[in-house]
């Protein structure tokens, strides 16, 4: 089985994260880049499926040069090879154009199963899995906390507000996972040493037949109009209970349109 895991390098949540003042995109140089946490669960799941069913795990990332750190981490965990989609034209791509660029690349490299983390800690749109499935014409099985493969079929437990749904589909398919699915392994000492010998293929937009007019900050469908530092939290509203505390609380919540 040919499994592709999409991973993303994100700014370390422990450091201060900034947007650039010129094009209002994320300032990726301002913070240390780390692998998006949910992507580690995706890599782990891919490795477990490979261990159970055989095949190969390919890491796919789209990002600037320094995203090679994130690729190396996934390879050190045990993935077999990697594809790095890197091109200045891709800078500032939004979720929609990112899904286009990744879909084009996935068509080139081929797959039976694509696994993603359900969202990234930077943009947090959580839309990529669904967009990829739509662009590639495959089933989408999102928010999985359990994945099972049997023959050409795949079954997942999809986390919902009320428990979980059981979702079945045929391969090839796109799966996104939540953090409850597994406990990601640490990159092993041997894995770290082996990672540098593994194949990392670099794709530019021409290699993946990506149309430059559909990617990048200038062609994004969404736009960051403006941004500002979040104001310090204002003092809360105190409801004094004089026998009518419940009513006052309810009135307050209603005034804020919570109820």
């Amino acid at each position: 089985m040919n499994i592709v895991v999409c991973v993303k390098q994100v700014p370390d949540t422990a450091t201060e994260r900034k947007l650039r003042s010129d094009d209002k995109t994320l300032d990726r140089d301002a913070a240390d880049g780390v692998i998006n946490e949910l992507c580690e669960y995706a890599v782990e799941e891919a490795l477990r499926l490979k261990e159970a069913h055989g095949g190969e795990v390919t890491v796919l990332t789209m990002g600037p040069d320094k995203a090679t750190d994130t690729i190396r981490k996934a390879l050190a965990m045990g993935a077999d090879k990697a594809v790095h989609l890197v091109d200045p034209a891709l800078h500032g791509s939004d979720a929609l154009s990112t899904s286009y660029a990744l879909a084009q690349t996935l068509k080139k490299i081929g797959f039976d199963l694509v696994i993603l983390g359900s969202e990234s800690t930077d943009a947090r749109t959580g839309m990529l899995a669904a967009m990829l499935a739509e662009r590639l014409g495959t089933p989408q099985l999102t928010l999985a906390n359990k994945v099972e493969i049997s023959g050409a079929g795949i079954t997942v437990q999809r986390v919902t507000d009320y428990g979980f749904d059981k979702v079945e589909a045929s391969l090839p398919a796109i799966v996104s996972v939540v953090e409850k699915i597994n406990e990601p392994r640490y990159p092993s000492f041997k894995g770290i040493m082996a990672a540098k010998k593994k194949q990392v293929q670099t794709f530019g937009i021409a290699d993946a037949e990506i149309d430059a007019a559909q990617v990048g900050v200038a062609n994004a469908w969404s736009e960051v109009a403006d941004f500002a530092v979040a104001p310090p939290r204002a003092a809360g509203t105190v409801v004094k209970d004089e026998g009518d505390g419940g009513v006052k609380t309810a009135d307050y919540l209603a005034s804020k349109k919570f109820i």
């Binding site: 190396r72 981490k73 050190a76 392994r185 640490y186 990159p187 092993s188 000492f189 041997k190 894995g191 770290i192 040493m193 990672a195 540098k196």
Partner: protein
């Protein structure tokens, strides 16, 4: 000149960091509340087993014993990470360096079970009347037929009260220049121990008593008369690691100080807005950075096969003093919170004092450094001179 880590060094460091963050830091609160000196042995062993699964096992052990045989510099990077928590932990799979030279029967009985964590040893050199002047030891071993009979006292022995065997350096020929010998002595052979309460909570050495303790000839480690050389090799193995440990503790303390300075408000503003606090942070960062490079440079000397005693002495002298100052400032910035036992700062404040004393006091390091220069053993400017 390139001050970067290699990709491998960084990845190994990151894995160690992730392990500390995920597995050890969450234990800190309960550990502090428990007031214990260490994790329960079983808990430590299960953490070691977990780390073993991803190959973090036997950092310093030769590969034929299942170890990683990591370069000293990489080991230092790992020690820096592990020292970021007050929860005492070391990756498993290691034994005292001089045991790797033991004969086959001794390896079977001592080395291998120690590597596997089934046995715990201690190294007994220091005596009430002999510390760094190891030639002054008085504990004696005399031949009695095929056996040796050991009498004497050892003190400030790390793990001494928990160990089930001791590597004991004893005088076997008082007249010879190399008149001491190393023995492997099981606790069952009859030695006893008493813990020494100390200023630090997380380090409890012991005094060991040997009263007519009889061991067969097969318990001699190495050759008769080789005790002093073995002791020197044991002492030399890991002094640079202490410097790395200081750097890790100081990093954590400074991190805590910076976070607290940005959080705590007095008189309507963050205390970090006060120059008094800013200067403490700036001085700590500068000293920590200097210490880091001394520590890594010493490890680098070990790795390149140079005589590292001089750079290791500089690193130990500076790092052990540095960590005391940084912990002190971090505690001061935290005020009452720093003094409380809810945070690790007060524990570190006491614990790091030992670092200027054990494995060669500050004064011994200075003795080494000044002697090297005055006698022309080293040049000002070191390897760049």
């Amino acid at each position: 000149m390139d001050f970067q880590l290699t990709d491998e060094q960084r990845d190994i460091r990151d894995t160690a960091r992730a392990f500390v963050t995920r597995e050890l830091l969450p234990l800190e609160e309960d550990f502090l509340r428990s007031g214990a000196a260490r994790l329960p042995r079983e808990q430590e062993r299960s953490l070691q087993a977990k780390a073993r699964k991803f190959g973090f096992w036997g950092m310093s052990a030769p590969e034929r014993y299942g170890g990683m045989a990591l370069p000293a510099l990489t080991q230092s990077l790992i020690h820096i990470e592990v020292a970021r928590t007050c929860v005492p932990f070391r990756f498993g799979g290691e034994a005292d360096n001089i045991l790797y030279g033991a004969d086959a029967a001794q390896q079977e009985e001592y080395l291998l079970p120690t590597i596997e964590g089934r046995r715990l040893g201690c190294f007994a050199l220091t005596e009430p009347g002999a510390g760094s002047d190891a030639a002054a030891i008085r504990t004696s071993a005399r031949r009695d037929g095929a056996d040796w009979v050991i009498n004497g006292q050892k003190t400030f022995i790390s793990n001494g009260d928990d160990a089930d065997y001791a590597i004991v350096i004893a005088v076997t020929d008082r007249d010879a220049r190399h008149g001491s010998t190393a023995f492997l002595v099981d606790r069952d052979a009859g030695w006893t121990s008493t813990p020494i309460p100390t200023m630090g909570s997380w380090h409890q050495p012991a005094t060991l008593f040997f009263d007519q303790v009889r061991v067969p000839a097969g318990k001699v480690l190495g050759d008769v008369g080789a005790g002093f050389d073995l002791a020197k090799r044991w002492i030399g193995k890991g002094r640079h690691v202490i410097s790395a440990h200081c750097v890790g503790i100081a990093e954590r303390c400074l991190r805590m100080a910076v976070d607290y300075a940005n959080l705590r408000e007095t008189f309507g503003r963050k205390i970090g807005a006060n120059q008094a606090v800013q200067w403490m942070i700036a001085d700590s960062e500068t000293e920590l950075e200097a210490a880091r490079w001394l520590a890594l440079r010493a490890a680098w000397d070990v790795d390149r096969g140079a005589d590292a005693r001089h750079s290791v002495a500089m690193a130990k002298l500076f790092c052990c003093q540095m960590v005391g100052r940084v912990v002190d400032r971090a505690l001061q910035i935290h005020g009452g919170m720093g003094y409380s036992k809810e945070l690790p700062l007060e524990g570190w404040y006491r614990a790091v004092r030992a670092m200027r004393i054990f494995e060669g006091t500050d004064e011994i390091q200075r003795l080494i450094l000044s002697r090297d220069l005055l006698r022309g053993f080293t040049r000002i400017g070191g390897h760049l001179a």
